[in-house]
């Protein structure tokens, strides 16, 4: 629990979104086609990894905040 009272996700469960195309990286799924094993936290992915949907770079992703799930 953080000082503010919000629960902070562990790195291995934090999800990241590719803002340019909307792809969400799920650590539990990884990206096996690119050699990223299931269970790999986003932070541990190599910097030259690219979004499987649009080809954007790792730097184009942002961390989804707890509770944030942009799915209509």
């Amino acid at each position: 629990m953080s000082i503010s009272g919000q629960t902070q996700a562990k790195p291995e469960t934090k999800r990241w979104i590719c803002d340019p195309c909307g792809f969400i990286y799920e650590p539990e799924e990884g990206d096996p086609d690119s050699g990223i094993d299931p269970g790999t936290p986003f932070e541990d992915i190599p910097d030259d990894w690219m979004c499987p949907i649009c080809g954007a770079t790792k730097a184009d992703f942002r961390e989804l905040q707890p509770g944030e799930f942009p799915e209509d």
Binding site: I17, F23, D33, I53, E71, D72
Partner: protein, 253 residues
């Protein structure tokens, strides 16, 4: 997993740009200095984009009408605005930078068809419109239509072409900064269009036959640029196509 439709509408609104705000003066001065080889390559790519973007911008109405709900329909509407701008941008470049003859976009398009393969013209002026017509008639088959439009045409053909254009511009003996700027902005828009199409595919129950067809279409479509893009770029586009389809939830056997 891909985010919901609301993300794309918000994103599209934040990414608006105007092709007439770009300064093409340096491009106009540099164009006559291109070597014959450079001229043929850049003009060929511009020709492909003029034909492609004009076609895709004219077909989205059928997709909009076939949308399964209001939120999806709103994204198609936002995309249509982008595609119309892309068509205007490449036509503007063809007229004002490359000096393609013709009193209007249709006349310039007529002049540009000679610079691309018949396969490219067929894909954009026959196959895509036929798919959109079928969709307009029965409002069914949206997933397959999106498969051709968003996954094959945008994800393979246009994305490969945009990367080829940026690589080509990088290697020219002179700079075309306005063309580069606009192409980068088009590429930025295309990324969310592909994400949107992937979201629709993700939501659909794609069977083996449809998956195989999407793969085959992608492999064939990657070659429509002919010599304008390298064999390595074609291979990369096909590999990314397969990876994208898998990331959108399609299983391959």
């Amino acid at each position: 997993m891909i985010t919901g439709y609301g993300h794309f509408v918000t994103l599209a609104e934040s990414l608006q740009w105007d092709e007439t705000d770009i300064d093409y003066s340096a491009d106009r001065e540099a164009w006559p200095q291109l070597t014959d080889t450079e001229n043929a390559r850049v003009l060929g790519l511009i020709a492909g984009f003029v034909i492609a973007e004009t076609s895709v911008s004219g077909q989205l109405g059928s997709y909009q009408a076939a949308a399964s709900d209001d939120s999806m329909e709103a994204v198609f509407r936002a995309q249509a605005r982008d595609e119309a701008r892309h068509a205007r941008f490449f036509d503007l470049v063809s007229a004002e930078v490359a000096g393609v003859p013709g009193a209007n976009p249709a006349a310039r398009r007529d002049a540009l068809r000679a610079h691309v393969s018949t396969e490219l013209v067929d894909l954009f002026e026959e196959r895509l419109p036929a798919t959109a017509r079928r969709l307009a008639e029965d409002h069914e088959g949206l997933t397959a239509a999106v498969g051709l439009y968003h996954m094959v045409i945008e994800g393979v053909v246009l994305l490969a072409g945009q990367h080829a254009m940026l690589d080509t511009l990088q290697g020219l003996s002179v700079e075309l900064p306005g063309v580069r700027k606009g192409t980068e902005l088009v590429l930025r828009d295309e990324r969310w269009h592909i994400g949107f199409g992937s979201r629709i595919v993700q939501s659909a129950d794609i069977g083996r036959d449809e998956a195989d067809m999407l793969l085959d279409q992608g492999e064939t479509a990657a070659k429509v640029w002919g010599d304008l893009i390298t064999p390595d770029a074609i291979e990369t586009a096909v590999r990314q196509h397969r990876r994208r389809l898998k990331a959108a939830g399609i299983k391959f056997w």
